[in-house]
Amino acid sequence: MTSETRSSGCGSDIRQLTVRGLCHDIAGKRVLENIDLSLQSQGVTAIMGANGAGKSILIRILHGLLRPSGGTVSWGGRAMTRDMLRSQAFVPQSPVLLRRSVAANLKFALTLRRRRDISTRLDALLALADLADKADQPARTLSGGEQQRLALARALATDPKVLFLDEVTASLDPANTLAIETVIRRVSDDGTRVLLVSHDLGQGKRVADDVVFLHRGRLAEHSPAKTFFSQPVSAEARGYCEGRIVL
């Protein structure tokens, strides 16, 4: 079974997520098991868990990049459509930048939505990514942090209502991490729903409003960030928050 339309009474806000009985198999191995999840239309949700917990697969299924083996995913009560995909954006851990300049990468995304104010928006996005002085530089010659900031700005060029971030700061230094977290908070405050996969407990505390904790492909816990970090309910989440190695 794949994503299907489900009349769930969730309203029509396409930033509101409902997941029911989600399962996914890879090469005959179950990597996500019976996940039920509901997310409100506002805020930043951190999806956390150990390596192999299924975080990246989950985020790709939610964004429609992978078809689940079973269960349903609906946004605003409706299954993912191409129009809905156009209102979402995704930044992976290793962004794939086009073999063009910084500005051309942003223009590519801006022209996808047939914007008329491309020049103004381009300047704003370059400023947001702090790359105005590198607009004409080939994107792939940027440092890792700069590439990630550019990828984030390119994602925001499409004015997404939902933004997926998969370990976007995993290999970045504190300054670049702070720059990206500042943007995350800002776009969230502006109404974009953010789903952030992260290993970083500190990042979860700094930016997340709620935490989805996965353990071995199962949803171990979903709670407000303050509760999760101060009083985790599941043994796995407790161990994870205390810095113990959770297998």
Binding site: L65, R99, R140
Partner: protein, 235 residues
């Protein structure tokens, strides 16, 4: 050995003096081949990009056919074009037989499968890399093709070069549809074949040297372009 040395001496003399006959043949060769390669790239690269980006039933079979067409013998293509453009053929009204136009047509048919098939392979690698980004950004199919062609432009230069190599060295198709008519359709390869059979080794050798120099020059230019693109991380 004396004949051999004389042939070389005469060949270099023709080159140094820019012999009008030699220049005319070289110019026509480049005109025909570059036109054919440009047309083949204009058809083959978008076709290759479409095949790289699109998923449709029978795609595998199309790729197999395309790859097979790379090894079509030039004389078979020459024969096909001859039948098309001869007076009794469907394109006979165009009066193309024994003109550079027919030669361009034959070389275009010869080179298009090559640049399409090799281009598809290059573009498929690019598409594999870009696929998730394209799907995530809901990039329309035509825009994907355009983006692939633009971003792979330096890699495609090498493919175009392979097409140029196949076209410029080809003799079978152009001799059938061009007829090797002096001052009209005589190109380097057909002239080399003719002059060798007539025993005029000097002109044949001079043309051979030009052919090699052209190939080396174009290869070197492409290498320099790719190296500069590599420095900019565009490859």
């Amino acid at each position: 050995m004396q004949d051999f040395a004389d042939a070389f001496r005469l060949a270099f003399a023709l080159l140094v003096q820019l012999d009008p006959n030699l220049v005319e043949i070289v110019a026509l060769s480049l005109q025909v081949t570059l036109s054919a390669v440009a047309l083949a790239c204009a058809i083959g690269f978008p076709a290759g990009a479409a095949l790289a980006a699109a998923k449709f039933p029978g795609r595998g079979a199309v790729i197999v056919i395309l790859n097979t067409m790379m090894s079509l013998p030039p004389v078979v293509i020459g024969l096909l074009v001859y039948m098309l453009v001869s007076n009794a053929g469907p394109l006979g009204f165009m009066q193309l037989l024994y003109t550079p136009g027919a030669m361009i047509m034959a070389q275009t048919i010869l080179v298009t499968p090559l640049v399409a098939a090799l281009g598809r392979q290059v573009l498929a690698d690019f598409h594999d890399e870009y696929d998730e980004t394209f799907r995530s950004m809901a990039v329309p199919w035509r825009k994907q093709v355009a983006a692939l062609l633009w971003d792979a432009r330096y890699s495609l230069l090498t493919v175009a070069l392979a097409g140029f190599g196949r076209a410029v060295a080809e003799v079978g198709a152009v001799i059938i549809v061009g007829g090797n008519i002096a001052h009209v359709t005589r190109v380097m390869t057909t002239a080399i074949a003719l002059e060798t059979s007539r025993g005029d080794l000097a002109l044949a050798l001079a043309l051979g040297i030009v052919l090699l120099v052209v190939a080396v020059t174009i290869n070197a230019a492409v290498m320099v372009l790719r190296a500069s693109a590599q420095r900019l991380a565009y490859v």
